[in-house]
Amino acid sequence: MTVEARLGSVANYVDERTGAAAWMKKNLQKAFPDHWSFLLGEVALYSFVILLLSGTFLTFWFDPSQREVVYEGSYEPLEGIKMSAAYASALHISFEVRGGLLMRQIHHWAALIFMAAIVAHMMRVFFTGAFRKPREGNWIIGIGLLTLGIVEGFLGYSLPDDLLSGTGIRIAEAIIQALPVVGSYLAYFAFGGAFPGESFIPRIYTVHVLLLPGAFLALITAHLMLVWYQKHTQYPGPGRTEKNVVGYPLMPTYMAKAGGFFFIVFGVTAFLAAVASINPIWLYGPYTPGQISAGSQPDWYMGWLDGLVRMAPPIETHAFGHTISWNILVPGLIIPGILFTGMALYPFIESWITGDKREHHLLDRPRNAPNRTALGAMSLTFVMVTLINGGNDIIATHFDLSINQIMWGTRFGVFILPPLAFVITKRLCLSLQRADRELVLHGRETGTLLRLPHGEFVEVHEPISPEKAFLLTSHEQAPPLELPEVDGRGVKRAGALRNKLRSRMSVANAEAIPKVSVNDLKEIEHH
């Protein structure tokens, strides 16, 4: 049988049982817009697959038990030391299982890249406005994936029960314990008694290996199905409209590129695992509550939380025989809660400000949405400042600074720098818009000087191509909302304050350099 004939008979077999040919024929030709920034989500997706594969490998040897054992493995500096079976099994994977250390490192590097890719992807979606209708739901799923990723990563590196991650668990327990009314009960239920107990590692193993991966699979599937069904967004440009998708067909081009990219992500992760040591648990030692290392930090995606906790003012309420630890609750739960809720609701907040209820499939160039871009820069600055404080002791020793200086610097910086970043970014965006306008009106500066007959020197400008001119002017510039505060008879309406706020924000949001129109070009010609 020829290859075609064999493929044909397989296809026939499947189609007779599922009717697959009908929907496959349509989808094999599905168009996928091609831009490098669209691959960030793919990095996250492939990292997730790598985590599943490497993680499964690890489960074949890992023992999630806090039962005390005496170490009898090959790593001499820990010989005869008492430790949990979990820690001992992680050492066994690292030293006695061939490929074990490599797989541990692939798993951990993949986790770091997974979170980095999620954040980078989220930034791309945010700055290009891809979260607008009809993709609000997918944005919320994405924020959910981000949150679950942070938890999953924390639980994952806590499983080996080493000194560094055990310290992290102590901090988590303190946050639970600090909850008013129910804190001590929830802590005792989570840990099966007093900290550290013997139940926590086995329980988080179940969460890390079964519950959260299940949640991930469900959410990622929903996330991808929505992208598939709603079709991917695309950058503006010639030939691209709100009503079409321009790209490469799934088969063969996109399949080959996307499939190949999976191997790239896996390969780079394996490369990092080969050349860079990560989480050397044998150096940390087993966890015991009486020990601690200088320079203890969580993994980077929780570093900003650590920074917030470090800079918190030492405020507790001691009243009526009870204690409320604001110094733990505010940075540990309240601020992150506000932040993540705000992020999740952002599509609705923005559409409330702009009054825009239409579908959007063309992306915004970030400069053309200056308020949104500035807001994103502001959030990033906030995260950077808190992240720096999270590593203040490492930064202090390496750059000859003092942790006290860095702490105070970031305490003020977290209030001063984000608004500053907002203002600077907004002005930058408007300047870029102005530059775009100049480019369309006057063309590209060639650097060639020309002397005119009457003696004046001018720089020769080359008109830009019609494609470029279209790209620079195809964005929308909607006027701000004008919401009445008084009704027809001049009486103040109910909801006047809300309308006033909304109008003000809408006006600020709509600030832009007017784009070039055909009329402007005609005027120029008359020069």
Binding site: H35, W36, F38, L39, L40, E76, P77, E79, G80, I81, S94, F95, L101, L102, Q105, W109, L112, I113, A116, A120, L163, L164, K257, G260, F261, I264, V265, T269, F271, L272, A273, V275, A276, S277, I278, P280, L283, G285, G290, Q291, I292, S293, A294, G295, S296, Q297, P298, D299, W300, G303, G391, D393, I394, A396, T397, D400, L401, S402, I403, N404
Partner: protein
């Protein structure tokens, strides 16, 4: 009187009087402050102690006082023992270049002989911790690496980090790295508690336990990085940085190449 006054206008008169005055003041001061110093062995001072005293007067007394009794800016050295001197001078911390609480390790100013002399001199002032001898430092024979690790994590890691790489203290001070430090100096530091470091008494950490700690530190120093380059052995901060810069960086680079049109 007339004979002396004949030389009143001699050109050497001024310098001579100056010298006389200095000698007078110096001697008066030494005699006066000699009463606050510990018993100096004047009769049977060995050559080494005297050599040490000379070096001390030249290089240390301006801060520590002419009789090592201390001053506003430097503590008394009476009773600190030879071990302190051997550590501070041997690692170059003393004489201090920068008058802060953090005495930084630097190139030692004095050679081994001079350091030994200084140590002998300070030891002669009052009883104090002695420099451990070779036989007392045989950590390979007398120490246990695993026990040393436990002791290290309990007593040292909170300042010096889990792998002895050093760590931050408050107000810009730091606990330095323990890598590449002489076993003798490590021992002396534990015994004498230099600068910000506390003292680890021989009863709470016995000499054998101290040797175990040294054995562990040396083992950590020699230990190769099994999983690849070490990234400083400081934990997740450098790992996260590398993940973003190298990991995501290479991936974005490949993504840009992937989406570029081929020629």
């Amino acid at each position: 009187m007339k004979r002396i006054s004949r030389y009143r206008r001699h050109k050497a008169a001024g310098p001579f009087l100056l010298l006389l005055a200095l000698l007078a003041i110096g001697t008066t001061f030494s005699v006066a402050s000699a009463t606050t110093a510990a018993e100096t062995t004047s009769a049977d001072r060995s050559l080494q102690i005297e050599e040490g005293r000379q070096i001390f007067l030249k290089g240390c007394s301006s801060c520590h006082g002419l009789n090592a009794e201390g001053a506003q800016i430097a503590p008394s050295l009476i009773g600190v023992g030879a071990a302190s001197v051997d550590f501070q001078v041997g690692t170059g911390r003393m004489p201090m270049a920068d008058m802060s609480t953090q005495a930084m390790r630097k190139e030692p100013l004095y050679n081994a002989e001079e350091t030994a002399a200084l140590a002998a001199y300070v030891a002669s002032l009052a009883p104090g911790p002695a420099i451990p001898g070779e036989s007392e430092l045989n950590f390979e024979r007398d120490g246990s690496t695993a026990e040393g690790g436990e002791l290290f994590r309990n007593n040292c890691a909170m300042c010096h980090n889990f792998a002895g790489q050093g760590g931050a203290l408050s107000q810009g001070k730091y606990a330095p790295t323990l890598m590449g430090v002489e076993p003798r100096h490590i021992y002396e530091a534990m015994v004498t508690g230099p600068q910000s470091m506390p003292v680890f008494s021989d009863k709470t950490i016995t000499p054998e336990e101290k040797l175990s700690i040294i054995k562990w530190i040396k083992s950590a120093e020699k230990e190769p990085n099994l999983g690849g380059a070490s990234l400083g052995r400081v934990g997740p901060v450098t790992e996260g940085l590398l993940g973003w810069v190298l990991g995501l960086g290479i991936l974005i680079g490949v993504a840009v190449w992937l989406a570029m049109k081929a020629r």
